[in-house]
């Protein structure tokens, strides 16, 4: 059995409207039906562009956001249905390393206090002295001097702060560590140090990671299995090397081909698939395959029917109706494209409709912003994504015109 299993997890955020009555006028489908398995001792990498729901998914696993439906099974226990109190004690086994190390460390607490707080809460170590010993050992493991104990977060450099964040997760001896963009705030030379540290710790302690990142090169380097997300769902999942050697889903292909390689010779020869437009709004996702509005291979069927993740050989799962046809070359870029986005292609009526729709989406986003100021980060994300929809709708109309 896998250590961590997600079954059809959905996280939908309601969009509320109205001054006196909180009418729910729609939902932001941040995570929309994701199933995956993380094996003990391996690293699962989640990649996708901003607004695809990868961070929300990570937070949902820890129940830092409410799960709308689905199961998160850790070692046989379904976390989604666990009472709050029991969930709290389960969190010892699931820890998170956050993106912004300075923002996630309390500036008024010294390192000892930051690290021992979680231990005390979970009853690790009989007294402070014992905890301090343990913290010293962990600090040495993550490469921090032991005199760090009495210092404060601002006294450390960015890379060191991320080490503190990792130490904070480690002191609780978790089974799974969820790393949300663990290195994206760091300089290149420091990034490599932290990536290596994560590797070493995994080897030494047998940790299981879920790494969420937008940097495909970093994810490839540290992951065993990679899942690619687009608009709240997984479009492709495969062992790291085979995903990069042979991306099968059109979105993965485009994503891979967009990453520049630090070598002008390779760069020159690289074939690229340029996507047009932006990510559609997760509040109003396209029908059928979520990617059909931007897919260069889109067919009429893609608009009608939502493809499910299916096995296509050697642990490769893809959610695309036409993987085989694209692979064999039966389907070429642009075949039947006109039939897929007719509204955008034909005349002014289409443009008007798209523009009206986009304006509506923008309005909804604004309303929501006023009302949900205190809501979580995801809400803001989705709002930004909604504004994006204005773009993409217009983008596609312009292509048509």
């Amino acid at each position: 059995m896998s250590l961590l299993e997600l079954n059809d997890v959905k996280v939908h955020f309601p969009i509320k409207r109205g001054v006196f009555f909180d009418r729910t006028v729609g939902h932001v489908y941040a995570v929309d039906g994701i199933s995956l398995k993380v094996e003990a001792g391996e690293t699962y990498g989640l990649v996708g562009e901003s607004g695809c729901g990868k961070t929300t998914l990570g937070r949902a696993v820890l129940r830092l956001v409410d799960i709308t439906s689905g199961e998160v099974v850790l070692d046989g226990t379904d976390l989604a249905s666990l009472p709050d109190k029991e969930m709290r004690s389960m969190r010892r086994r699931l820890q998170m390393v956050f993106q912004d190390p300075l923002g996630s460390l309390n500036p008024r607490q010294n390192i000892e206090s930051i690290l021992s707080e979680g231990m005390a809460a979970h009853g690790i170590g009989a007294n402070q002295e014992e905890r301090r010993e343990k913290i010293r050992a962990i600090l040495a493991k993550v490469g921090l001097p032991s005199n760090a104990l009495s210092r404060y977060p601002h006294e450390f450099s960015g890379g060191q702060r991320q080490r503190i964040g990792i130490a904070r997760a480690l002191v609780l001896e978790p089974d799974v560590i969820i790393c949300d963009e663990p290195v994206s705030a760091l300089d290149v030379s420091i990034q490599a140090q932290v990536v290596n540290l994560l590797d070493e710790l995994q080897e030494e302690l047998g940790l299981t990671y879920v790494v969420i990142a937008h940097d495909l090169a970093v994810v490839r380097h540290i992951s065993d299995v990679i899942g690619v997300m687009y608009l709240g769902s997984l479009v492709e999942e495969a062992p790291s090397d085979s995903l990069y050697a042979e991306p099968k889903h059109p979105y993965t292909k485009a994503l891979m081909s967009a990453v520049p390689i630090p070598d002008p010779v390779v760069e020159e020869a690289r074939e690229r698939i340029l996507l047009t437009g932006d990510l559609p709004s997760p509040a109003n996702p396209p029908s059928g395959c979520r990617f059909h509005t931007r897919c260069p291979w889109a067919q009429p069927k893609c608009k009608e029917e939502r493809p499910q993740l299916r096995e296509v050989g050697d642990g490769h799962r893809v959610a695309c109706h036409f993987v085989e046809d694209i692979e064999s070359g039966v389907l070429q870029i642009g075949t039947d494209r006109a039939a897929v986005v007719p509204a955008a292609r034909t005349e002014d009526a289409g443009i008007e409709a798209a523009a009206a729709k986009a304006a509506e989406a923008a309005e909804a986003a604004e309303d929501k912003a006023v009302e949900e100021k205190s809501a979580s980060v995801e809400a803001t994300d989705s709002e930004a994504a909604e504004t994006d929809s204005t773009e993409s709708a217009k983008d596609s109309t312009a292509q048509g015109a």
């Binding site: 490599a192 990536v195 290596n196 990453v259 523009a355």
Partner: protein, 371 residues
């Protein structure tokens, strides 16, 4: 290139180069000619903690139709350099010395008014974060039109036509509608396009892009880099791209300058630097970057330690505390003497005390096989 070789001789360079540099706009005839020439630029800031040497003596040329990539980590002085060229540091506590030749004019010693008239018209900048660089209270159309009318005494109508044309050219769909939109209504990629439209509205001959794609997703990054390249081809302008991402540089730059602690440690064409990098710091950068086209290797080869504080730049070679080869030269000069840029190949310079043979040996035997 002749002045470049003699650049060690500090500000003795007599200024504009080829005599033919007229005021004519960009044309194919001028392509390849040096348009921006920076000589021994130093930008220091007085702070309560001490003197911050953000930029400490760098020199380079940018030619029309070519792209110079400036690479370095945060705090290496790359952004300060670009702001210095644009003359955006003068009113602060900055101490600036050196020379910045833009076409035929030296900017550091010029009046603020003169520099302001150049800014936007002859040289323009694309900032990293378009949301904070665009004014939230004004429509994007108004902001682009303003940029145009500052330098061209034309009616609002003509300026608007020009702005619409620019929006169209940078690939914004339905420019007429988007003209009256506010920055917050645009997505990240579209905002960056607006910034580019604003920068290019006056046909500048020098475009400085400071981390133009850092805030964007990879697929959008690809779109924006494509756009910058296409527009450069069209206008034949000189471009400086500042980034920490060697991949971006490999994709877009013709020439490369690697900065460390406010100094230039290596400079050459992109092919030279990527094929035979000379400075241990450049090796470190290449080793630190995971590459998407490589199988999972054992470990990355990070640069040890952290970048130095610019108040307390290490004596001698600024990189020596982090350099794995600092002990190779027998004498003590890595710790006491600041290395000057030396030419190691035609137009390829590095500032390192290692002897040439030694460096080639380390690169081919120790570093390259591991990359």
């Amino acid at each position: 290139m002749s002045e470049l070789e003699s650049e060690v001789g500090r500000s003795s360079v007599p200024g504009p180069r080829t005599g033919a540099a007229g005021t004519a706009g960009t044309s194919a005839a001028l392509e390849g000619e040096v348009f921006l020439s920076v000589r021994d630029l130093r930008i220091h800031f007085d702070t309560d903690d001490g003197l911050v040497r953000s930029v400490d003596g760098i020199s380079f040329d940018v030619r029309r139709g070519r792209t110079l990539g400036i690479v370095g980590e945060s705090g290496s002085g790359k952004s300060v350099t670009s702001l210095g060229i644009m003359g955006l540091h003068r009113s602060h506590s900055a101490r600036i010395s050196g020379e910045v030749w833009l076409d035929d004019d030296e900017l550091i010693a010029s009046s603020e008014d003169f520099v302001r008239r150049q800014r936007g018209r002859k040289m323009a900048m694309i900032f990293q974060d378009p949301l904070s660089a665009l004014h939230p209270y004004f429509t994007v159309g108004a902001q682009i039109t303003e940029a145009y009318r500052v330098h061209h005494p034309v009616s609002k109508k003509i300026a608007k036509a020009r702005a619409l044309d620019m929006l169209d050219r940078v690939g914004i769909p339905e420019p007429a509608k988007r003209y009256s939109g506010y920055p917050h209504e645009f997505s990240g990629g579209m905002r960056q396009r607006v910034m580019i439209a604003m920068a290019l509205v006056n046909n500048p001959e020098l475009l400085i892009a400071d981390e133009p794609t850092t805030a964007l997703d990879v697929t959008v990054q690809a779109q924006i880099l494509d756009l910058i390249r296409d527009l450069q081809k069209e206008f034949g302008s000189a471009v400086i791209v500042i980034t920490h991402d060697l991949g971006v540089v490999a994709e877009i730059a013709d020439d490369l300058l690697v900065m460390y602690a406010g100094r230039c440690v290596e400079r050459g064409t992109a092919e030279q630097v990527f094929e035979a990098p000379q400075h241990p710091y450049t090796w470190g950068l290449l080793g630190s970057m995971p590459r998407i086209d490589r199988d999972q290797t054992e470990r990355l080869i990070p640069v040890r330690g952290t970048p130095p504080s610019l108040i307390n730049v290490p004596a001698g070679c600024a990189f020596h505390p982090r350099c794995p080869h600092a002990d190779v030269p027998q004498d003590d000069k890595t710790r006491t003497l600041r290395p000057e840029l030396r030419e190691v190949g035609s137009g390829h310079f590095t500032a390192c005390h290692l002897a040439q043979e030694e460096r080639t040996r380390i690169w081919t035997e120790e570093v390259e096989p591991k990359l």
